[in-house]
């Protein structure tokens, strides 16, 4: 009998994912479920971002002075666009994935076909990013609609936020999936939200300039994909991208790839016994 060493622990988690075109079939399943519901859900993703944008932008904005030529709503808008896309990807990869993985057995069912578990993970991540993109399109359209009145968008460069939204969704979705894959129970996802996502939300540089916070806090904040994306979104809204933005894109790519890699390893560790 040949004893086969089973790769355990960290080596197994970090092993290269086994991917195929079936990841797209997983994506298509999610798309088909969404397309049945999208009309009824159409306005749902807009309610909260619009409340924040106009409630804070116009209400709080009256008391905020950022210097000439910078209204608070214009400061706020890029961050709102990034955040509420990000939330959608996070929800998909927390509760959506947890239900499919633990309650519905979808991961096991698909892994019984020629698709691999890594295909399922990648398919779900691509889908979460797609939801981030779809929500971003909605929000950007509304911002565009109000731009003549409030002077929010200043450049067609802002359209480049959409491919970035996909990347942001991938990075934040993968990060969330890493936690979902180790969640012992669904209530754990609430902790993840309170302890990780909400701080990321507040420290993203959306509501206040990060330069005015303590240095250590800035370092923490810049570790989050949301902060990186928000900064670049803001440059694109103003039509003044800087070389540093290319670095931001590279960082987002790197974070997305690293988290997706680890997430698929953690899902394998959880489900392959």
């Amino acid at each position: 009998m040949i004893a086969i060493a089973q790769p355990r622990g960290l080596r197994n988690v970090l092993a290269a994912p086994d991917l195929s075109h079936h990841a797209l079939n997983v994506w298509r399943r999610n798309r088909d479920v969404y397309l049945k519901l999208w009309k009824t859900e159409l306005f749902l993703p807009l309610i909260e971002p619009l409340l924040v944008l106009f409630g804070m932008g116009l209400g709080l904005g009256k008391f905020v002075s950022l210097g000439i030529d910078q209204s608070y709503i214009r400061f706020l808008a890029p961050g709102v666009l990034a955040q509420f896309g990000m939330f959608q990807a996070t929800f998909e990869c927390c509760w959506g994935v947890y239900f499919r993985m633990e309650n519905h057995g979808t991961y096991q069912a698909v892994a019984s076909t020629p698709a691999s578990l890594d295909d399922v993970v990648l398919g779900d991540l691509l889908w979460a990013s797609t939801r981030c993109l779809v929500n971003s399109v909605y929000i950007l359209a509304v911002i565009l609609a109000f731009t003549p009145h409030y002077d929010i968008l200043r450049s067609p460069w802002a359209l480049l936020t959409l491919p970035l939204a996909y990347l942001l969704g991938l990075a934040m979705g993968s990060l969330s999936l890493c936690f979902t894959a180790v969640a012992p129970a669904i209530s754990f996802l609430g902790y993840f939200f309170s302890l990780v996502i909400i701080p990321i939300f507040w420290l993203s540089g959306t509501f206040f300039p990060l330069e005015r916070t303590p240095g250590w806090l800035q370092i923490v904040a810049w570790a989050s994909p949301l902060t990186v994306a928000t900064s670049t979104y803001r440059h694109l809204f103003d039509g003044k991208p800087v070389p540093q933005d290319l670095l931001h894109v590279a960082v987002l790519c790197l974070e997305a790839a690293a988290c997706a890699w680890i997430a698929s390893g953690l899902v394998r560790r959880r489900l392959i016994k």
């Binding site: 086969i4 089973q6 088909d32 479920v33 057995g105 096991q108 892994a111 019984s112 020629p114 016994k273």
Partner: protein, 324 residues
């Protein structure tokens, strides 16, 4: 009668003729979880066109074995081939040949009954037209056509199980793998599932199933193995196993305490009997018809005499105590 006792590891050596090569072949198959050994180096072959069963109590290693065959669980040792393909080297190619019906219903609750079939077919790269044709045929075969547009949650347990089997068949697999296919179903639903599985077998499908229902194993399986604590105790056809390990008929005597010593004394004078004393009841296994023996033993006329069955084999081999 053969020996009733002992744990034997049975190896069937098959001739290597290509056309009769086994569809599934395991040698020294081992599964360990940490220090616990779930499957302790077993050998078996599943022939083409047969229904092969794994019978055993909970925790015997049946599901672990099945999961390794479905490439859902890595082997800890040994080797396992499906249609000549190594499950460890070519899991995708192996899975393309399998239809898997898992123990828990893992249908997709977010989509309709028909979509469950269509979406699953995508993972086998079936063109949409072909998938739609097969889905409609499968829905008709499994009496689910009227439910095609409904959500899975609206189905009864039996319908869900039938849909899971229909889903596993969408790719026209070489091997249908079923892990406890009728656990949790009501009698009507079980019989319907059995009928459909027998129908599949008649069409030449190879079936591999686990069960802890003796009647299910006896009804469906051409050959089976009885597993216990990770090992294969015996293998053969249901009838051969019954004859070898439980004889022909069973007399279930339930003597009053006062009559018990006398009955035990008489039993020693009758040849060819195997007796199992459970403390209260006495199970007397006979090689021939039980009635004359019951008379010789002076048992009451209404003593229970019945044909030996797989349950007798199972309980004799795995013991009567609770196992988990």
């Amino acid at each position: 009668m053969h020996s009733f006792t002992g744990t034997r590891s049975v190896t069937l050596l098959t001739t290597p003729a290509a056309d009769s090569a086994p569809l599934v072949s395991a040698r020294g198959l081992t599964k360990r979880y940490g220090s616990f050994t779930a499957v302790a180096g077993i050998d078996f072959d599943v022939r083409r066109g047969e229904c092969f069963g794994f019978l055993g109590p909970n925790g015997a290693g049946k599901s672990s074995t099945i999961r390794m065959a479905c490439c859902l669980s890595p082997l800890s040792g040994g080797e396992l081939f499906v249609d000549g393909l190594d499950v460890q080297r070519e899991p995708r190619a192996v899975k393309a040949k399998l239809g898997v019906v898992s123990q828990d219903d893992n249908l997709d609750p977010d989509i309709t009954v028909r979509q469950n079939l269509l979406f699953y077919a995508r993972y086998f790269d079936l063109p949409h037209q072909e998938a739609a044709r097969r889905a409609d045929r499968a829905l008709a075969l499994f009496q689910l056509t009227e439910k095609a547009g409904e959500k899975v949650d609206d189905l009864s347990g039996g319908m869900k199980r039938r849909l899971t089997i229909a889903r596993a068949l969408i790719s026209s697999p070489s091997l249908l793998v079923l892990d406890e296919p009728t656990t949790g179903l009501d009698p009507q639903a079980r019989h319907l599932v059995w009928r459909q599985l027998r129908g599949l077998k008649e069409q030449g499908m190879t079936l591999l199933l686990t069960t802890h229902y003796m009647d299910e194993a006896a009804r469906l399986c051409d050959r089976l193995v009885i597993m216990h604590q990770g090992r294969i105790l015996v293998q053969g056809t249901p009838l051969d196993l019954i004859r070898a390990h439980a004889g022909y008929e069973v007399i279930e005597a339930d003597p009053a305490p006062a009559e018990r010593p006398e009955l035990l004394r008489r039993l020693q004078h009758v040849e060819g009997l195997q007796v199992e004393d459970t403390g209260d009841a006495l199970y007397i296994f006979t090689e021939g018809v039980g009635a004359p023996i019951a008379v010789r033993l002076g048992l009451p006329e209404d003593v229970l005499i019945r044909r030996a069955n797989l349950e007798d084999v199972f309980l004799r081999l795995t013991g009567r105590g609770l196992l988990d």
